[in-house]
């Protein structure tokens, strides 16, 4: 019975959970460290600031687990929430 369920819901298999967790943790280990993330953030803000004014205090910038498009796997994604104060003319 468990086998049957596992086949229906392959994501529940513990090896897939292990794989996804490993991929995420290794990304942090390999260099998308808080410092690197801070650098990426700074550079992106730099580019955006040429065209829009940004609400600096409410910036949210992180790497998070997200479902991929067809919902079959959890993948790491760069999630940025950048509130706009106004568009520059």
């Amino acid at each position: 019975m468990m086998e049957f369920f596992n086949r229906l819901f392959p994501r529940n298999k513990s090896k897939n959970v292990a794989k996804e967790r490993l991929k995420l943790v290794l990304m942090g280990d390999r260099g998308v460290s808080p410092e690197v993330l801070e650098k990426i953030k700074g550079e992106i803000i730099g580019v955006l600031s040429k065209y829009i004014e940004i609400e600096d205090n409410e910036l949210d910038f992180k790497i998070a687990n997200t479902e991929n498009e067809d919902g079959t796997a959890i993948v790491p994604a760069l999630v940025a929430n950048i509130p706009i104060r106004r568009i520059k003319k």
């Binding site: 086998e3 596992n6 392959p10 298999k13 513990s14 090896k15 897939n16 292990a18 794989k19 967790r21 490993l22 991929k23 943790v25 290794l26 280990d29 390999r30």
Partner: protein
């Protein structure tokens, strides 16, 4: 032509010492002259795993400090034609030697042996740095567990940083039944995650514990799966192309029937 190979992993308990002892025994049984160096100073174990613990007189630190000759510290394994052990010191610590001294020792051993295999301590501190200093290439040992794979990834990065650019992966303690069930990370996944080439796969097998209990390398037990796996690794080290072995259990009624009817 002599080569220095370091067996490393980052994480402890994944089978570095067992791997070192078996690869050494396998290479020696194929006619190579081999010395195994236990670089785990303070936590000496390779002698015990190989069953040579009662014959240790001098050790690695004695040789490096010059208090004995290299030849007198080498313990010959009488079961194999050309297999020697250079034991670690048990009462010193990792800082008793440095990278330059290890490099020099490796160079000295190269003139006498075909293969110098270094059993690296767990961790990423001085002991690791000493062990990789004189190495030409590395075997990174891991098991299909998240912690071991993560540490292997870290070690791969550190090898490159320390100038060892040739390294291959050995996946130890694989349980085919669990992989099939979906409860153990498979070989392809580990290779995919770590992005390095494979040198061998060793199945989880109770014969390893039994051999270690007796102080005999598992390769002496001709019929065991790990023996076959380690011999394959030895052949690949020698540059012989051998396909990955079938890890499936040969025993059991079902497979017996399959064999009889030719599948």
């Amino acid at each position: 032509m002599a080569e220095v190979i370091v067996v490393t992993s980052g994480k402890g308990g994944v089978g570095k010492t067992t791997t070192t002892s078996n690869i050494g025994a396998a290479l020696s049984s194929m006619g190579k002259k081999v010395v195994l160096v236990d670089t785990d100073i303070g936590l000496r174990n390779l002698d015990l795993v190989m069953g040579l613990e009662n014959r240790v007189v001098f050790n690695l630190v004695d040789v490096i400090e010059g208090s004995c000759k290299l030849q007198s510290a080498l313990v010959k394994d009488k079961r194999f034609e050309n297999l020697y052990l250079l034991p670690a010191a048990q009462t010193k610590d990792k800082d008793a030697i440095n990278e330059e001294q290890m490099k020099k020792l490796c160079e000295e051993l190269k003139s006498d042996f075909d293969y110098i295999i270094l059993d690296c301590p767990a961790g990423i501190e001085q002991g690791f740095k000493n062990a990789v200093a004189g190495a030409d290439r590395a075997i990174v040992v891991t098991t299909p567990e998240v912690s071991a794979v993560r540490d292997a990834d870290k070690i791969i990065g550190m090898l490159t940083a320390h100038g060892v650019t040739e390294y291959k992966l050995l996946v130890n303690r694989v349980r085919v039944d669990m992989v099939k069930r979906g409860d153990m990370i498979g070989l392809e996944d580990i290779i995919d995650i770590l992005g390095i080439k494979l040198i061998g796969v060793v199945p989880d097998d109770e014969n390893i514990i039994i051999s270690t209990n007796r102080g005999e390398p598992a390769v002496l037990n001709e019929k065991s799966k790990p023996a076959e796996a380690y011999k394959n690794v030895a052949k690949r080290i020698m540059g012989i192309d051998v396909p990955l072995m079938d890890l499936e259990e040969k025993g059991g009624i079902f497979s017996a029937i399959k064999r009889i009817f030719g599948k």
